[in-house]
Amino acid sequence: MTGSETPAISCRNLWQVFGDNADSALKQALSHHNNADEVSQALRAKGLVPAVQDVNFEVKEGELFVIMGLSGSGKSTLIRCISQLLPASGGEIRIEGEDIVSASKARLIALRRKTLGMVFQHFGLFPHMTVADNVAYPLRVQGIKRKTRRAKAQEVIELVGLAGREDRYPRELSGGQRQRVGIARSLVTDCSVWFLDEPFSALDPLIRRQLQDEFLDIQAKLKTTIVFITHDINEALKLADRIAIMRDGKIVQIGTPADIVLNPVDDYVREFSKDVAKGRHANVASVMQSPEGNSYGVDDPGLRRDMTLDAALARCMELYDPVPVRDSNGTLVGVINPADLAAALQVETDHV
């Protein structure tokens, strides 16, 4: 996260507090305490609910940033802060460098018309409009002519595979089709920052997987910056460039999928990765040892550092001695013991 270019989204010391006079209470608590936990305690003592506490992160342009947490962890509140559906109680949110907490109403409307798009868990479709009218609505509010907006809507409707259903009403569609409409509507303005609030959680597993794959295709085409909310660790690992794990309103860890699976910062995060098939998400590099001082046997199953653990283990099934790991040029970069490989893959049981 170095570099001088402005991040697409940055949040600094972001707070969202619910209750009477929450904003002033937060200001007061912040001036009295230095530590976020103490601030939260002070707020709770007043009967207020700090739903998002001192959140800091940056999302690079074109990055797919997943926020994961259980229900009640504050992830939905957080995304509503960033999209300004809820005015944040305190802190700073910048989108493409622009401070949007202090933005005027008119500026927010303009941002939503050009820059921001959002997909909702329960789709949020307008029940009185057809598919085409739903998708074209963000253009309609801008006063764009009917013909032009229909043409543009048609493009995205085709992109999400709903061609031929333009004149249906939401109630006539299946859950998966409804969410396709939601996705199309959020894309119709060519947004550069895309919020998705648990978009696939309300769908059954088969449809969910299908939509995840299509979503990755769309993302590969459009390269928008994405903030994606989910409570499903497998979904997070499958889609994310980076994952932020939230608990009780705080972000407890931010990292790549492999980081989260192999180096959980605490038991809470470990608990999540417990049932995860790590072999698919972690690579050889994360468990190998350095070549210095570690000998290896005669067998060379041809391990590469970016191989997944599953693939590596498949090649070492019959082996017991340590084996070499090489890069694409054949240079030795590490040594790995097949026993360690197997151990890393084991679904963790409770440990003290």
């Binding site: 409307i109 941002l111 939503r112 798009g117 909702f120 329960h122 949020g124 009185h128 409009m129 509010v141």
Partner: protein
Amino acid sequence: MSNALAARGLGKGALAALIAGVVGAFCLLFEGLWPWLSSYPNDWVLPASDAVGTAVKSGLDYVKPAARVFSTLMAYPMTAANTVLAVLPWPLLIAATVALGWRLGGGKMAAMAAIGLGLVLASGYWQQGMNTLALVAVSVPLALLAGAMIGIFANEFPRFRAPVQALLDVMQTVPTFAYLTPLLVLFGFGPVVGLIASAIYAAPPMARNVLLGLQRVEAEVKEAGVMSGGTRMQQLFQVEIPAAKVQIMVGVNQCLMAALSMVIIAAVIGGFNDIGWEVLLTMRKAQFGPAMLAGSVIVIFAILIDRMSATLAQERRRLWDGRISLAILLLGLVVSLVFWRSLGDPDSYQLLDPVANGLDSWLTDFTRANAELLTSFKNGVMFYVLLPLRIGLDQAILPFTWGFQWTSGMSLGFYAVAALVALGLALRGQLTLGVVVLIAAGILETGVSQLPWPFVLIGIGTLSWVAGGYRLALLSVVLLSTILVSGLWDRALLSLYLSGAAVFACAVLGGGVGVLSAVSPMAWRLVRPICDMLQTIPLFVFLIPVLMVFQIGEFSAFLAIIAYAIVPMIRYTRQGLIATPDEMIEAATASGATRWQMMRDVRAPYAAPTILLGLNQTILYAFAMLVIAALIGTTGLGQSIYLALGQADVGLGISAGAAMAILALIADRIVQGFAEERKKALGL
């Protein structure tokens, strides 16, 4: 909560009952010594209604010029609507209605419109009917507009939501007649008063439904509107209002029905040749055949308006082929043109007069032939139920009525039996019930209308405390005290007695029918259309049949109130009982419960909150009807309001109306409180 209290000795209910019982006993024991305990002395009455009258009148004087201008302005659309409906030939009007019926509901609705309006034409009340419709046609747009604006306003400014809701509550609980007096002073005699009253009365249901609809729009749909980049106006009019359409249409339907009901009630002012006036006139002349006929015209209008507008609120409504509608309209036009000269005055089509006269004479014969039976039924209910309740056993039991004289010895014996029962219950651990039995005995001995005022204040106060805590108790006591000091106390107790008796009867009868309908689908098939019918008929019409058979008096009023107020009790009881989740039924069946055990242990407790809400509705309906029933002879607040209207006595009208609203409000809050508590206990 109640367990914790019980552990400390007494439950909340038992404590409340004990306090009320002790106050009541104290009042009864010492009323000889301090007579002010039993009847509130006149010297303590503040001249509140006079003061209110003067204050309001001087206030009204300020607005009067503006009101008169408004009145003049409103006369234009009214005259216009009147003229249009009067000038258009009836074949065209009928064709237009039938065409609309077809468009909204297909052949069934078209046939309904044709038959309905055909009957209206044949009744000879076409002109009066059109005059009523003209009033509705002008007042409804006013009410819709005002209601929608209030609803949107409350939605946009959440901090005003609570006060607006309270205002709507008041607008709907203040009895309909009570509106009329100040409006009469303000706008002068004439149909405009009925117009404004009906707009005021019909706006709240619209406002409520608009607000409810807007609030019920899914949060994510609203958020999608925001994220699409709409301005607030765009969000409201392009997303939220269309998404709330079904609920708003429910409001339109209720608004129409309320407007019609009020327009007819407003006919008591007179001066406008409409159908309500016709009913009143024929009723006063005891011409029950024509009264029935005119009443049927009102019922036909009500049914047509209700069923047609109800299609607007259907979730997935379809419109029927518009070309057929157009054809029907054309046919009407052609018929009107071809037979222009021979159409004549629609009022001359008095085809149903023989029916009316036949009905009239049949009815006279019937009442004459069965006079003995009817009188003994009426007297039975009066002497053995209503009178004891009203003036107590000690005064109601006379040789003339019961065949013997009630003595103080009997009183003592009566109390002794009650005390024994109470003691028995208390020993079995049901202290609350025991004390309630004792209190009930006291009320029966004294009579509701002669209850000592400290007992009523404390009793209702403690009941409020049990239902809704200290705040509700305080509210009840303060509001009741205002009635006490305004000098309307005795009349309020009379109203309380009559509506109480009617509500009790509704609860027993309606509850029974509700249970039956829940158990037997056959019974429900029979009961349901009757309920639908009773709910569509405007209040006013209920008076005609009871008056025909039982003449003017408290008993007729009692019956009319029951007929109107019983419906919610039936509906909610059935609804509550059949809504038990299947899983619970299956669990009970698997545990081996019999049908009766299932009803008692599973269905009834689960239905309790719903049934309480039904009771709440029944109480409010009973209060509404009580005022209308003043037309056929009740004592109490309703009568005061009606008298005030006749004398244009603003002070009395407003005070009595407010007292009525206070009673309704307190009853509403108490029952709602109990319903909430039951809901919480069930985790709903």
